[in-house]
Symmetry: C2
Subunit: 607 residues, 2 copies
């Protein structure tokens, strides 16, 4: 199967068109400006004298921030030339290339400090940074034909091959933070050079076989934290740091495809089932715990402390996208979609210039400063997006994600076009033309127009869809409807709001429900409901009042519910408590906390 890359597709208006416009017009500069202010770009100079004079030091993973910004900005250039962006990228690339060492090595920290400790400490993110530089180089080369950064990374990868594979002088076998593995597959695909694929395979195959390496990690980490507890083909559950885990699984899926490695695909599928069935918030959020930013145990999905890093959710959908490329199984697209419309884009403000790293499912402000008796505080996720973080991986990650969202749409094999997702857009690819006319996910209708020599067209019928209509007959297999090729097919997923409940294992959600519209999770904010929203409950037999909303780009939904009336007693006999009927307004979850700091909930009691 072959992917139709995003740059063949023009997203047109509606939900994602809007997100891409904001991303181009606001986010590219917002991330750039904050990174510049915080010396992240200046650090690429590797000018120790300047740092000492000014009293600062680069961080070991600032290269990745710069690289991800380059990659995201490069993606926008596929649609729209922008000299200003290109000049900024060129300037950065020059700084990097000027500082690359003779050996090929380049890292803004280790070029300058701890220079004798290159490749000695597994958790120092050197290979992670290189991975992001590779992705940036590939993206920028494709968008502009400029190959200077590509040259840097190819020289650097050659050095890595020498140190890790040939001379084996590095102090560890596989990186602490995965990323280079998937980047090397991209580099291989661009250049066709087998050595890059081999290096990726080297890192993947060594993982779980090198217990001694763990010594280089911090003492509170375990092998499981680094997805290093078992050889990757024997892993069955999503474990450890959730972003690292997803980057690993993405690379495993890439290699499964490139090498036809059935055992890698099987491992990916098993792990993805574990995530989808036991370890994922309804928002697609993953990694429940702030301790190690990590997966914990099955069904541990607490709402208020939910860590669910933006990067992890983005990466989950990208992992699923890769799985869809190998085998068109509906679950992959379903999970990708759940992450795509909820816990990933909640990471950026509607305006496009402020970010969440964590994406909790409950914000109860009263809990946030509840220990007046001591100066110690409990830890909760922040409640308002900020312009930059100390560890600011998420903002540029959202940038590259939104601007390459078209990657999710299509794959093809010899005779079939696979339509995995629904976005109003037109695509031209190798002489073929594909169009989707749709307001998805505001509405479930999609007009699909395909001009090409396919024999079959397979469209994913989302798992949430209870009634599917189409203008032609079809056969369902693995969650896809297979049509004989036709120029126009009308699809209707009959999208309507619905209440969803959790598996009994998710203890905190017992007796509660969440509102969804297609793949979009909704939430209740106090700013729309002038009361203690945690005293509300819903009538699941409600009529839904669905109202278009320009601010959120998706409708708001108002339902019938109840507010428990406070009778002054802390505890009352169940029959002595009154409830008053009241309308409850829901907004799309990704739009939470955009209108000032306010209480928010996703899971609400059923009455």
């Amino acid at each position: 199967m072959k992917q139709i890359p995003f740059y063949n597709t023009r997203i047109e208006g509606c939900f994602w068109g809007d997100k891409q416009r904001v991303s181009r017009e606001v986010t590219v500069d917002a991330v750039y400006d904050r990174f510049k202010e915080t010396k992240r770009f200046e650090a690429m100079k590797c000018d120790k004298e300047q740092y000492e004079r000014e009293g600062w030091r680069p961080h070991i993973f600032w290269d990745s921030d710069a690289a991800k910004w380059i990659e995201g900005a490069a993606y926008t250039l596929e649609y729209e030339k922008n000299k200003r962006f290109e000049d900024k990228i060129d300037e950065l690339v020059d700084l990097m290339c000027n500082s690359q060492l003779e050996s090929g090595y380049y890292n803004a920290y280790f070029n300058v400090y701890d220079t004798e400790n290159k490749f000695t400490t597994r958790d120092c993110h050197e290979l992670y940074c290189l991975g992001h530089l590779i992705e940036a180089a590939v993206a920028y080369y494709h968008a502009t034909g400029k190959d200077k950064l590509l040259g840097l990374v190819e020289r650097y990868v050659d050095y890595v091959i020498k140190v890790f594979v040939e001379e084996k002088t590095a102090k560890f076998m596989t990186p602490g933070h995965e990323e280079i593995e998937l980047a090397l597959v991209k580099l291989y695909r661009l250049t066709g050079k087998q050595k890059y694929l081999d290096l990726s395979k080297f890192f993947i195959d060594n993982r779980g076989n090198n217990e001694l390496d763990i010594a280089g990690l911090r003492d509170w980490m375990t092998n499981r934290y680094a997805q290093d507890h078992l050889p990757v083909r024997e892993q069955t559950t999503a474990e450890g740091h959730s972003v690292r885990a997803m980057y690993l699984y993405m690379a495993m899926a890439d290699l499964a495809l490139e090498c036809g490695d059935e055992s890698l695909f099987k491992a990916c599928d098993t792990i993805l089932h574990n995530v989808a069935e036991k370890r994922m918030y309804i928002t697609g959020g993953i990694g429940s715990s702030c301790i190690g930013e990590a997966f914990t145990v099955d069904y541990d999905l607490k709402n208020e402390p939910a860590y669910t890093e933006t990067c992890a959710t983005l990466a989950l959908s990208l992992f699923c996208q890769r799985m869809s490329k190998i085998k068109p199984i509906g679950l992959y697209g379903d999970i990708a979609e759940q992450a795509m419309y909820n816990g990933s884009i909640s990471g950026v403000s509607i305006k496009g210039d402020e970010f969440f790293y964590e994406n909790p499912l409950t914000i109860d402000l009263a809990d946030h400063d509840k220990n007046p008796a001591t100066k110690q505080k409990e830890r909760y996720p922040i409640t308002q997006r900020v312009k930059i973080f100390g560890c600011s991986c998420c903002p540029p990650n959202i940038l590259r994600y939104i601007n390459s969202i078209g990657d999710f749409l299509y794959t093809e094999d010899e005779d079939t076009l696979y339509v995995h997702h629904y976005i109003n857009s037109s695509t031209e690819f190798e002489g073929k033309k594909i169009r989707q006319n749709t307001y998805y996910p505001s509405c479930g209708k999609v007009k699909l127009t395909v001009k090409g020599d396919y024999k079959k067209i397979a469209v994913r019928v989302p798992g949430w869809c209870e009634k599917f209509d189409a203008s032609a007959s079809y056969i369902i297999k693995d969650g896809y409807a297979y049509f004989d090729a036709a120029e126009v097919i009308d699809l209707d997923f009959n999208m309507a709001p619905r209440f969803v409940v959790s598996a009994p294992g998710v203890h905190e959600n017992a007796g509660k429900t969440a509102l969804m519209l297609g793949p979009v999770v909704y939430c209740v904010e106090k700013v729309d409901n002038d009361c203690d929203i945690f005293g509300l409950s819903v009538n699941t037999d409600t009529v839904f009042d669905v109202q278009p909303d320009n601010y959120f780009s998706l409708p708001t939904i108002t339902v019938d519910g109840y507010a428990k009336v406070h009778n002054g007693q802390l505890y009352s006999n169940v029959n002595a408590v009154k409830y008053e009927a009241r309308k409850i307004k829901f907004i799309p979850y990704y739009g939470m906390e955009n209108r000032g700091e306010t209480d928010m909930l996703v899971w609400i009691p059923i009455k």
Copy 2:
């Protein structure tokens, strides 16, 4: 109003008779043996050479452990002579008296170490320890007539008066951990010496007026932690360390009574309303947070991390008992009772030899080891009682509490006998005889027999009681039924199981209910319900199957409920989920975690 002290009452069998028997036969020795093993008693020798030789040091508050054990053991002697207990107490008293300094000072730590730092650090518990020594001395003197320990404490208190009041050479004005204030009132009541009452008043009146003193406390504490944020008469909410807070309020109530101080009573009443209406778990547990063992904010009553120290709950009921002595208001007895039957006695095992310091309302074992990826763990209360703690204040506190439970029953004024609580018992006091024949709280019937010259008999009608019957006519005032005196009055509080819900402000309990029988809170344990108990919900219109149970001394209750059936999906449309009918067995909350480590919940969803 005058209290009829516990030693005038013989508790006979049933619930509290049984608890007292276990306490005498098991707990006295169990606490003694663990304290002896851990050198707590040996420390009273103040033999530095021995400590250095053996490599240990006394803790600054070990005196209080010894004193509370003496007090608890002394209470048992009121009912039953026990030479073995007396010998042990005498031996301890000798050790203490031999080590008392010339000045009168005595503390097992500061006698030996940091000797120049006596009364310099407000949080070092010296006056707290003295308070407990006073209570022990008063108790032992009353039970046996032996006055050696009484001599020690009177000499020590004289020294405290000299240092704090006369010479003002102490480095702080009021203690960091309250206790001595209430103990001095006991000493005043025994000896009639005004100076003790004056010293108590001195400490109480200075609290909140000496901001600079806080410097001696640890840097994460605030004035609020030490109930020192305002003069006591201006305080309106329960604040800070919950045990310290309750000991303060107890003393304030004592002084309000002794000095007829209306402003102190008013402050106590306001604070108690804050607790009862906004800051108390249904178990009577108080102090939600492990951070500072402290009160937090209104309605912050999370179940799983609930700190609710046993000592705090005991003390809440003792505070209420003191309030009932000043004014017969039903709420005081109601809250006392709620604490008495739930979060206080849950602190000791049914067998009497193992203890809980924290008393959570949810135990979800899956949460307790959920971070396999890192060696850092989240903090949860322990799930099985232990024989002793590092800070082992709770075990001897339960000992003295259970053996003086009769203190809760009666007060009298010139012409009225006030019956605050219901326990099967007989009382003789100044020629009067009072008997209660009752299975309370298994059953709501009480036959009250009173031989005495009262004009009125006032009985508290518990707040939970929805239908009250009596054999004579009565007038209700402030939650008490006032009868014309009669030799026999039959009362029936018509006890039946009932479901209770929280105020809307308690967010975690939204949509949930708790089962109660009279004042007794019930819980569900997995050991009785072979399933994931967090997937259960109850039908509040159930028939209750109430079964007597010898092990818990109170009935178990089985109700109709439902188990959510797992369909394999993590999230499902609300209408696609099935529930199967199932019986749910509840046991009294205080009996939780006595039959091995098991999941437990108090609040259960309503379906």
